[in-house]
Symmetry: C2
Subunit: 184 residues, 2 copies
Amino acid sequence: MEVLTAQGLSATGIDTVLKRVGVPKGSFYHYFSSKDAFGLEVLERYADYFARKLDRWLLEEDQPPLRRLARFVEDAKAGMAKHDFERGCLVGNLGQEVLTLPDGYRARLEGVLGDWERRLAACLRLAVEAGELPAGADCDELASLFWIGWEGAVLRARLAHDVRPLDVFLAGFLAGARSRDGGA
Amino acid sequence: MEVLTAQGLSATGIDTVLKRVGVPKGSFYHYFSSKDAFGLEVLERYADYFARKLDRWLLEEDQPPLRRLARFVEDAKAGMAKHDFERGCLVGNLGQEVLTLPDGYRARLEGVLGDWERRLAACLRLAVEAGELPAGADCDELASLFWIGWEGAVLRARLAHDVRPLDVFLAGFLAGARSRDGGA
């Protein structure tokens, strides 16, 4: 997961991965039929890991809903800086490579993003209930907008070696969400 | 440029590119020292091409400024659909791969995005003058926000095989930009 969040699948040789974890090539092919099959399994693990991470922040009951989202972003900023902006989002990396990946990837990546949208939309609905967002806000659309822009912000933060794109994106997202028409 | 906007540099073999244009390998190495050197030249051509495209839309004098931006987005939607969502943004593709590319790429990609930001910021300042955006809008910050999110929207449109992410992003961007604090 560390290697693939850093450089995606196309640029990664399985030998590099196996060397890093000290596993012989024969063992790899006992469990995985190909690098592509391995990549899909890594994606499943990443989806689980990220869903738990989102729940940790977005279900924090002692924080107002939009503050939970901001705390998720703060955590992501700290994580990116800690790894010197080498690691991005596995979903973004594989999404960028999707044309050269087998067919199954596309649907699975969309599925993972759909899951993130549902988790965030639930948090945004709490923000509406709490009066942090206008009553007419379209929370599903806003959740979709968040993850669309988020992947761009992570990409740019890696390029800039700076957390600022994540801040600019969150501020812009919240300004739109709080505006009268709910960002739609 | 067609191949690299579709699949980036890592997944592209020079043989594929040469076969497509009917150029022998010896000729390639006469002009370029490596695939990476070739990629940087393609990036320069793409930057020129995209700067002209931006000017075509953002300097359209008979259109109100924000309408010019919307027309750029409409053109991008049509272009993506025309190529069956196979082609993305070369800057986004190379940005995602930046960890595995030689050092020169990072600065150059940031430079290209900086150029796009300046062109868009000029258009947004006209929108402020025209009363389409609030007087206090931070046009540099908004232009930065636009390209941050744009790369995410292009990525998602390719993944979804649908122009909707571009629409969702533009609507969200404009809602934030028009809100009182100018998206900042």
